[in-house]
Structure formats: C-alpha cells, structure tokens
Amino acid sequence: MFPIFVVDLFSKKYGLKSLVESTTWDLLYSCDCLRGMYADVEVFCRFLEMSYDADELLYYCYVRSLTQSVLNANFKTHWADAGRQNNPGNVGFDRRPPVLALNRRECNYIAQTIFIRNQGEEVESEKQMFSDFMGSVDGALADGAVDSSEFMKIAVERYFATRPGEHTQDAVGEDANEYANEGGAAPPLAPSRSEEAAAAAAAAVEEGGGEEEVAFTR
C-alpha cells in the first residue's frame, strides 16, 4: 500500500515520530492545495488516496524513468533548485524550475519503448495500442511539445482507464444506473479508446507503415 510506503520512508529518513508526522501532514496539506494546478501533484494525490493501486504506480514509475532517460534529467535534482528560471515573476510559494518538455518525437520514442516489441503475432495490436496512446498525447501537445509531467499523467490515466474489471465501460455503466436511480447526475464515463482513434489506428495499420521509424538521438 503506497501510504504505508510513504510513512515508512519518512520514518527511515527523519527518525523522530513528531518530524514524521509533521512532514506527512505538511505534504498532505500542500499536495491538497496544489493538486488541481500541477499534473505531478495531482497524480501523486491519486496514489495517496488509493484511487490508483500498485500496478498503476509501477507503470507510472516506469514511464517516469523512461522520461528521465530521454530528457537526460533527474526530476528530483531538477526540482532541488527552483530559482534557476530567469523570470521576475518566479517567486514565492509557487516558484519552480523551467518546465521539462517533451517534443512529439520524444513522446513517440517513449511510447514505442512501452508498446512495441515487434515479436510474435501481436504486432498489429501493439501498433494499435501505440497509435491510440499517441492520439491522447497529440491532444495535449502545445507548440509541438508537452510538459513531461502532463505526458506521464496521460500515460497513467490511459493505463487506469483501460484496465479490465471495475473501471471498464460495463462497470461504469452500472455506476451510472445507480446514480440515475438515486436521481443524481450520471458520473463521467472513464475515458476509453474512442472510435475515431480506433479508426485512425486501423488506417495506420492498413497503410503498413504505422508510425514513423524513430532513430532517436538527443
């Protein structure tokens, strides 16, 4: 359970019970204040409140590790010096280092690493997964780039939304019926592979080329 891991980590790091408690409370409160504004804080809050489980956590950490490799950066070190941005407005509580952005080529590379193995008879389904994911990323691109934290958020959201079981469309449909019976508004459907994205993916597969070959260098 992720909260246990966090409190254990603080216990090892700080030792004193009072320090562990105060740090945990400060972290909870600060995250709660910031969660709507910053993608990485939002995702962390979802792990803390157990909306996402250990599978999503491992997947998120994996994508995060790939992103760090591609950007040749360490996020912890990057955030250790929040005052580097040469901007007079970059002061106070929300002071932050420059945004680490991924361009489409880099997103493409990470997505290929995650989805494409080019083995066996699953090449087509791999390509479909890949183009489906890139469809979501394309929606978030601004000026040809996306904030790395936003990219990782999209990845874990897609992972969560497509998990078979309680989060699939059937289960959400049941929830919607319950809401309707109670006279409330139906909850939003979990994002799933849209028909348009599926059609685009199928077209890409039919063309045979799929996505562009990426010879990645940075």
Partner: protein, 203 residues
Amino acid sequence: MLQPTLPPFAHTIVPPLGETYFDLLIASDAHFHRDYTSGAVLADMRILGPGVTMPGASPKKKQDGPRLTPKEKLALQSANAATLRLPGALTCAAGDVFNYSRYNSTVKLLSQAAPTYAPKRRTLAWTVRLIQEIYDERYKRDTSDIGGGEEFEEMDEERVAAARAKEEVSGEHLHSREHAQTQTHTHMYPKHPLRLLLTRPLP
C-alpha cells in the same frame, strides 16, 4: 491608530506649546502615571545629549515573541489547531480548514487518532522534490523486487565500476537504469491493460 485625547494639563500648563509637548512625549514612548496625592498626570523622561547612550543599555536583539523550543512550538501549534475539531478536518497554520478525509488511508498510519498538528503550506518546490524522492525510492524498490537487482544512475562512477567488475566475474548484466527499465518492461508488458483489452475476445 487611535490617538489618545489631549489631557487637560497640556492646555492648562503651557497652552500654546501643550500639544507639541504632548506629541513629543507620545513619540518618546513616555510612560504616564497619575500622582494620586495631587491628582496630576506625570510623565518621566530623560533628555540626553547627541551621541550619548543610556548607561547600561545594550542593543536589543530583534525578537518578535518569546523564544520557543521546538517542543513548545509544536504544543503551541496544537493549541491553535484545537480551535476547530471536526471529523476529517482540522485548522492549518494559515487558518484554513484542511479536509483530509480523502487521505484517510495515510492519516490512519500516523499515531495520533485525533490530529493536533496544524499543517503548513510548503512551497511547490519542496512538495514536488519530496514527491520525486518518494517515486525514486519506490521505483528502486520495485525494480529490485522484479529483477533482483538495483537501479542506479550511470553517473555514479564507483557503482558502475563495481557492477562492471562483478559483471566480468559472473557474467551478469549491468544493473543500470536501462537494465531496470528492461526488467520492468518484461514484467509489465504481458499484463498491460491495453494489451489485455485488445487481445481479449469481444463479447
């Protein structure tokens, strides 16, 4: 700021200079007291020449309040937080109400059943840095569980050299970040939900 009303003596003793004199006393932070035998209001003051300091006076260190030990500070914060006790909510250092009910799984792990600490809003950089540290530690643990190895940065030359030496002896792979990623990928790929969704038969 509320100005004290001009006392009667200021008009009666020296009518034209009374107000100026009174202002001087106020500005000098003079302490007024009443002589109960005569009923007069008195103020004590000492006029010193330029550059002359009061004997025995030492420069005072600026201090906003009484100096508290960390334990006393926590006790004071607890007392402040005690102003509001709602289930699932508590007052923060800034006076806001923090509804922590959605983080109950974390709060339950803290020893105190009823929280008394008033949480502080930390900076964005502090918060995200701590989050990143938690992810680093978690990923290190998970990859260690999956691959029986340990992730570390390639920049850590000593550990890379040690791992290479071990690799030469035992023929094992280098346990670098790339290795950890490969292990995770191999572990996760077969159960990726998108893959399951695409390969399972349609109803």
